[in-house]
């Protein structure tokens, strides 16, 4: 359950930026290759936010699909799982997206 400590980091950061203002929504970007389970984060968010200015805030999660580029044949393609393999058979691929783990924005006031 690393989601608990990751969610704690999110709430800590949001609280420090919000000050005494009430937080109504928090938007995150989570890449498909990050090993973070969004439903586990939603569960933890409610617990971690309780009793703070973030309590009751809506958690919005934008999931970024994983994309990779093959260095052998030059094609860009979707990665359905973390196995780095191009359809041409080459494993010489670089990950373009899917490793994001960002706090994008918040709504306060």
């Amino acid at each position: 359950m690393h989601e608990l400590s990751i969610t704690q980091s999110v709430v800590d950061e949001v609280r420090s930026r919000a000050g005494s203002r009430r937080v109504h929504a928090v938007r995150l970007e989570i890449g498909a290759l990050t090993a973070v389970v969004p439903s586990a984060m939603e569960f933890c968010f409610e617990l971690v936010a309780a009793g703070t200015v973030v309590e009751g805030a809506k958690l919005e999660i934008d999931l970024t699909p994983a994309r990779a580029a093959c260095r052998a044949c030059g094609v860009s393609f979707d990665l359905p799982d973390p196995v780095l393999l191009c359809a041409c058979g080459s494993a010489d691929v670089s990950v373009l997206t899917g490793r994001e783990l960002k706090i994008v924005s918040m709504e306060v006031g």
Partner: protein, 226 residues
């Protein structure tokens, strides 16, 4: 009613604040501090991760005894509970501090920072950080180590790299331990290496037995090359 959050306020009462910040920014900043702190002492840290029971502690026992002749070494020992492993490793003569994570399933950079200040490793030391036995959560947390080392053993499944791809994707080195047991188990070294390289084409793999000592010189050479 506000369309963003459903609260009673007017939507325009809310201020949109752009943050665009890495969730793990705080951990990563402390990890960078740890790395700089170690560098000042000409020391390095290696983050050892595995399932419970892969033989990390036995491997460390032998490694500490072997390194004692050439280079100072120290250990940060992470477990959910007890100080059994730190006590066991101190018997090799190397300093070891225990970090108990309680309910936590991984070490983070702040835990390692406080452990480093307690450990006070000598100049030029190799600090082995034995992470909590878990092939999932520790993969995401930079501790300030120079390299991440994943230990698996031949009593586990050949397909472990595919089942726990995030850990193997994060690794610099994979050590396959307990190769003295290969005649008795159904473990395919070549296939395991193929699986590991499928999620991480750049990684180095070494095979060894912490019990018999087979393959250990290559591991010691790898440490010296970091």
């Amino acid at each position: 009613m506000c369309g963003t959050c459903g609260c009673g306020a007017d939507e325009h009462a809310h201020e949109h604040v752009s943050l665009e910040q890495n969730v793990l920014a705080k951990n990563d900043a402390i990890a960078r501090d740890n790395r700089a702190w170690l560098r000042k002492r000409d020391a390095i840290a290696l983050n050892l991760m595995s399932s419970p029971g892969s033989g990390k502690t036995t491997l460390l026992e032998r490694t500490l005894v072997a390194l004692a002749r050439t280079r100072p070494a120290a250990v940060i020992e992470g477990d959910q509970a007890t100080s059994l492993d730190a006590e066991r490793l101190r018997r090799t003569g190397a300093p070891a501090v225990q970090v108990n994570t309680g309910a936590g399933c991984h070490l983070d950079a702040a835990l390692v920072r406080s452990a480093l200040s307690r450990l006070d490793p000598p100049p030029g030391a190799v600090v082995f950080v034995e992470n909590v036995g878990n092939l999932v959560c520790p993969a995401m947390f930079d501790l300030g180590e120079q390299r991440k080392v994943v230990v698996i053993s031949v009593t586990e499944g050949t397909d472990k790299p595919l089942k726990y791809p995030y850990m193997f994707a994060a690794a610099d080195l994979v050590l396959v331990n307990k190769i003295d047991l290969l005649p008795y188990v159904d473990f395919d070294l070549d296939l395991c290496a193929k699986h590991a390289r499928a999620v991480n084409p750049d990684l180095t793999m070494l095979t060894l037995s912490a019990t018999t000592g087979e393959g250990l010189p290559a591991w010691y050479d790898w440490i010296a090359s970091v």
